[in-house]
């Protein structure tokens, strides 16, 4: 996690990265609630990023948006459902918790974030500029005061979630997009619990 950054249009005030060989170690599911492990891993990265800015966005949760980008999304749970559906069985909890949108939506539930939210189901390398563009538009139009830009990837058998906390840039601050790109292209950290 880091803190700082400047921006013109969009700037990064903190970021967080979490990796795990088995993302289920971050899951906090309950008998009446299930979300795909990727959603929980992203939520863990969001927590790291919030820690890096002293939870600054949480003072205005209605104005915090989320854009998540991932090609894999909720493949774990979708695959499990595909298997069980062949026998005519689909768990309603897993059906709800398999939605790719959960990559953005779970953080909203956990921190009561009611800003605009979006999941781009594509490789973050290809989708990150679009994510940053949409985030910048929300900030520009006042639809959000902060936007979390998150990515989830599977790299070398490591599940990696990264999150940047962005806000509108101020005069003299450089564009935050290069920092977001660098975050996503950065090295895979040593996974916890390996």
């Amino acid at each position: 996690m880091t803190r700082g950054g400047n921006g013109n249009g969009l700037t990064v005030i903190a970021d967080g990265t979490v990796a795990a060989a088995d993302p289920r170690r971050y899951s906090r599911n309950a008998p009446s609630f299930y979300a795909d492990p990727a959603g929980w891993l992203v939520a863990a990265a969001v927590q790291e990023a919030f820690d890096g800015c002293a939870g600054e966005p949480l003072s205005v949760p209605d104005e915090v948006g989320v854009v998540a980008v991932s090609a894999a999304c909720t493949a774990h749970t979708m695959g499990a459902i595909a298997t069980s559906a062949r026998d005519g069985l689909v768990s309603p909890l897993r059906f709800a918790g398999a939605s790719p949108g959960i990559l953005a939506g779970l953080a909203c539930i956990r921190w009561k974030l009611r800003g605009p939210t979006l999941t781009l189901a594509m490789d973050p390398v290809a989708g990150l500029d679009v994510a940053a563009t949409v985030a910048g538009g929300w900030l520009r139009d006042g639809q959000a005061r902060y936007v979390l830009v998150a990515a989830y990837t599977v790299e070398d058998d490591q599940h990696v979630a990264r999150c940047a906390v962005t806000r509108s840039g101020r005069t003299g601050e450089p564009d935050g997009r290069p920092r977001i790109r660098a975050l996503v292209a950065g090295p895979v950290p040593v996974a916890a619990g390996r």
């Binding site: 918790g97 594509m122 679009v130 639809q143």
Partner: protein, 392 residues
């Protein structure tokens, strides 16, 4: 008075849909106005709350050239619906799908993935683009039942920020066995019919289809003399932050999305003449939407009329936002809305006028389309009618 596109406006210069009621703009629209439905008994090897589903029949020339049958794998059907509809949207706008200045944004919910897992969640969109001859990698959006609307929201932003002059955006989704089992197990599926806002509402009926809108900067549309069907005046969204399947019961979150949309378009609630509601027919969704509409419009002197197409077209999940955007644009063009199929007796306390049993006329130039998706995705699109009549 209808609108004339201004220099900063985002114009809709083409649109297409493929639905259980057909695949021509006015053909489907006329059937909706006539009160038709596309529900079919669709057998299942496993018990379901209903075997009704609104599936797309094999009827169009494009589909016959690239067979999409009810027996085809889900991925193939997703591709066929996408290719047919996307090609038709480009054609409607007078654009070549290979146009290098255009971008493509595709939305879906689960698409075929719950039955046929894919290597990457955008494989279907990439293949759809390749088959129509589009040169760029598409942007792929997945926000459950708001995906079609959110694809349009993303496309609009790509134009606003100057990334592109033309963006073709919409959604595609298919009925599959796993999705039917899931909605049946979850209890969101009706045991009868989808009766949105009716006192007897008890859930949705699955549907499938596709729709794409060609969004274009006013400058680009003017320079090439493109027809303009409507202006996309505003976009807004919010998250419920309450649960995966239960919307925010207060209506606060839906209200936030609508207010953000209106603010982005410099508009106000009193300008909204018509609402295309999400209207899944589940008691929970209908209650939240009713509460939200009451908070937004309840005190207004000129309440907008409300319509909904899922009763006739089924709930096409990731496609529904785009399909309903097309329906709203046609409603604005004609100044009338189709009857809500399945609605006989409006639920107690519903705050706005509904069309029950017959089409209903309205006056005004602006309308909103509202979608509410699993994961809390509330999205609102604001369209305005334009002077002239390119859609006929």
């Amino acid at each position: 008075m209808a609108t004339v596109p201004g220099p900063a406006d985002i114009c809709v210069t083409g649109m297409a849909w493929t639905t259980p009621l057909g695949d021509t703009l006015d053909g489907v629209w006329q059937r909706l106005l006539a009160g038709d439905h596309g529900l079919r008994d669709t057998p299942s090897p496993y018990p379901l709350r209903t075997t009704l589903a609104a599936t797309v029949p094999r009827q169009s020339p494009a589909t016959r050239q690239s067979p999409a049958t009810q027996q085809s794998p889900a991925t193939q059907r997703q591709l066929d619906l996408g290719v047919q509809t996307l090609s038709a949207a480009f054609d409607c706008a007078g654009l070549d799908p290979g146009e290098p200045s255009a971008r493509l944004v595709c939305g879906t919910s689960y698409g075929p993935f719950l039955d046929e897992p894919a290597g990457s969640c955008d494989d279907w969109a990439v293949e759809t683009a390749r088959r129509v001859g589009h040169p760029h990698r598409p942007v792929c959006v997945s926000t459950a039942c708001s995906a079609g609307s959110d694809a349009i929201l993303v496309g609009a932003e790509l134009i606003r920020c100057g990334s592109t002059e033309v963006c073709v955006a919409g959604g595609v989704d298919v009925v599959t066995q796993a999705k039917r089992l899931g909605h049946s197990a979850l209890g969101t599926m009706s045991e009868d019919r989808l009766r949105a806002f009716d006192a007897r509402h008890d859930g949705m009926v699955p549907g499938e289809g596709a729709a794409f809108l060609v969004l274009e900067s006013a400058r680009s549309a003017r320079e090439r003399g493109a027809p303009v069907y409507a202006i996309l005046r505003g976009t807004g969204s919010s998250n419920d932050a309450t649960g995966l399947t239960n919307p925010d019961p207060s209506g606060d979150s839906v209200t936030l999305a609508v207010r953000r949309c209106l603010a982005s378009g410099g508009s106000t609630v009193d300008r909204v003449a018509v609402v295309s509601a999400h209207a899944t027919g589940t008691p929970v969704n209908d209650a939240v939407e009713s509460a939200s509409l009451a908070r937004l419009f309840g005190a207004g002197a000129a309440a907008p009329v409300v319509f909904a197409t899922k009763g006739a077209l089924g709930h096409s999940l990731g496609a529904t936002g785009a399909i309903e955007a097309v329906a709203l644009i046609l409603a604005l063009r004609d100044g009338r809305i189709p009857p809500v199929y399945g609605l006989d007796t409006p639920m107690p306390g519903f705050p706005l006028p509904l069309a029950a049993g017959a089409p209903r006329h309205f006056s005004g130039d602006a309308g909103i389309s509202l979608t509410i998706g699993f994961g809390g995705f509330n999205t609102c699109l604001l369209f305005e009618r334009i002077d002239g009549d390119p859609g006929r």
